[in-house]
Symmetry: C2
Amino acid sequence: MAERFEIVQKALQKMLEDKKYATLRDILVTMNPSDIAALFSNLEEKQIPLMFRLLPKEQAAETFVEMEPDAQELLILGFSDNELKAVLDELYVDDAADLVEEMPANVVKRILKQADPEMRNTINQILCYPENSAGSIMTTEYVSLRPHMTVGEAILRIRRQGVDKETIYTCYVTEGRKLIGLITVKDLLLAEDDETPVTDIMLTNLISVTTHTDQEEVARMFSKYNFLALPVVDKENRMVGIVTFDDAMDVMEDEATEDMEIMSGMLPSEKTYLKSSVFELFKNRIPWLMLLMVSATFTGLIITAFEDALAAQVALTAFIPMLMGTGGNSGSQSSVTVIRSLSLGELKFRDIGIVLWKEIRTAVLCGISLAVVCFAKIWLVDHLLMQNQEITLMVDAVVCLALAVTVIIAKVVGGLLPLAAKAMKLDPAVMASPFISTIVDALSLLVYFLFAKALLGV
Amino acid sequence: MAERFEIVQKALQKMLEDKKYATLRDILVTMNPSDIAALFSNLEEKQIPLMFRLLPKEQAAETFVEMEPDAQELLILGFSDNELKAVLDELYVDDAADLVEEMPANVVKRILKQADPEMRNTINQILCYPENSAGSIMTTEYVSLRPHMTVGEAILRIRRQGVDKETIYTCYVTEGRKLIGLITVKDLLLAEDDETPVTDIMLTNLISVTTHTDQEEVARMFSKYNFLALPVVDKENRMVGIVTFDDAMDVMEDEATEDMEIMSGMLPSEKTYLKSSVFELFKNRIPWLMLLMVSATFTGLIITAFEDALAAQVALTAFIPMLMGTGGNSGSQSSVTVIRSLSLGELKFRDIGIVLWKEIRTAVLCGISLAVVCFAKIWLVDHLLMQNQEITLMVDAVVCLALAVTVIIAKVVGGLLPLAAKAMKLDPAVMASPFISTIVDALSLLVYFLFAKALLGV
């Protein structure tokens, strides 16, 4: 499919170069705005406005929304005031607000000047809600119905107003701006009698969020309840907007990406990989690398402290990477599982006892299995096969005991730290692999050397 | 909110115990099926059928779908044949198919016996599609329109058939079972004239998937195009079903969880954390731990090979954990970024050149910055502050040179391996942190010892 798209893309670009505008336009009008937007990202700068002006008004606006910020900026800078106004008039308010957030100050000024007063007001209002709140992703364009309406009147209102609304499929019944019920177009269409009052068939058991609800929580509610849209109310239960499922999907995707980035020791990025400059990648990656490198000083100090033991039993050094690696992997398995359960809303801090008990038992099973296999492997491979006489039964025992204990510590630490982070209102994802590895590295070395001292007397 | 829910839950459970069934029923009918299902998971076994029988027929079916498999199984085993049939008749076909997949063989037999022949047929058909394909998550209950219909006739058909369909908002125009267009209820309602033929306003530029399209690809299309539903066709472009946005959301969530699990060296789990037994957690976690532990033999061998060098310069040992840790973190940053871009569809294998060039430049920036800071830290802290005379300027230089080279190797390996996996049709997520750490561990030790040999002459 991707290949087919490229062929189409090349053909269309050729038409643009050959100035076959009429044919090009005929093809463009049949395409999906997302695909047209993708076309733009491969055009030369001067071709962008040329192609954009071929699109019919409504399609142009829909395509504009899907375009990359740099292409949008380029277009706005080239627009006449009238062209800009025409595009803005076609945008849904939440898309316009997104646009304003992305653009540099001079462009924003032009946009707000051309937007009609009502839209300007709404944009400003949306921009004032905290980042990542329901208010910041909602749209104010929904269909509202009055309690005195009948089914027939409601359908009529939808037919009159619907064209400007982001969704018409869920309508909200409000009384003095207070949200009192919701009704779907399905219920309206399937109602047996057009004279039925909407209050008879509306749902009153409402699930709503407030403007300050975190967007992650909003996305979770969508995946739990399978809603098409979710009403957003203010503190007085007055209806202020709706969040639609497509915005919730974007949030889900972004939050999962962010969790993965944080879990692997990066700052969350605003841009996708291909759009990020090398310097931006560097800026996101270096802080944790630096911090973790410096904090590895502790492991260094522990090794230095036990230098004599290592000198007496050189064979011990060879198992350090295996011990730390297995400890790190064990810990990150537990932490990633717990972090994911926390962000899907399955786990809460109060479940700490359950997690602890589950992790301890799993860790004991893993620790013993690994130790048994490791013991056999060291004896068969390192001692018998490689003929390493320094590896005595006692050395083997020290390594495997340390391994079992390390795995147990790692899994318990890995399971509990994300919960602790949650309790301290930190992002649990920060407690993933790199951070836990550093802690587990230090602990596993300590355990190792203490066993060596006790059993080998070094 | 979670707390409020618990209070409600306790109150309802009390009513059940006190046999206040009428009041309980009055409250239940106002509640959302997802929330009622959550109630059930805290009831005692014998209370489950009791509470379930209080629900009106349709709500009972909707609640049933949202329940955990063990509660479903318990209910089915307790149902009379008539009760089972009543619930099955209310289920959407894709939910029934999901149910059949979850239940043990004896329960499946009862379900298929009670389902009406048409549903049984469809269930069997859906079950035959490969796991994780569009066919396996689609429903066959959609509204299909004929090309000769007018807007008015189409609306009439929706009003007649809609009650049994999973979504009525997107309708499909088919001719001899071939999909020729789609039309939304919004377009139908906003059409100016009821006499307009649907072929005049239907969209013919169709985006569809086939029954064998991977569900991850399906979810990607939803998040790209913001569809409510996506038509599924067979090889001859004959319409066989639709996937709805709620199923796509579940897929997105599951795929992200699966990626995170695989990336941290676990087998993907079918159940959530709290539902998994200790033995299931163990089974998912031990294979990679075992494999990675055994493969750490290589790092052990490298250390053994350079034992003399370490004995001559004991200070070198202290920096091994820092080197391996920083290398591992650098590599997993790159691999996780590339894996996520691959699963969001931003990157393709052919972008390998772009990734390589981006990672090399980022790696050089990171490597140099880390080396400079590390050099200063070792000199100031380890040499001057801790008075460790073994750490000469030359030892410091060896560590930092090795660090810079390790970071560069790690980032390049981390960036390229997931792409290589993709090209070999493997899951790129397998190439994340643990796997890459093991490779990078071995490489970083080699680099370290080679620098030590060359510069310190050990």
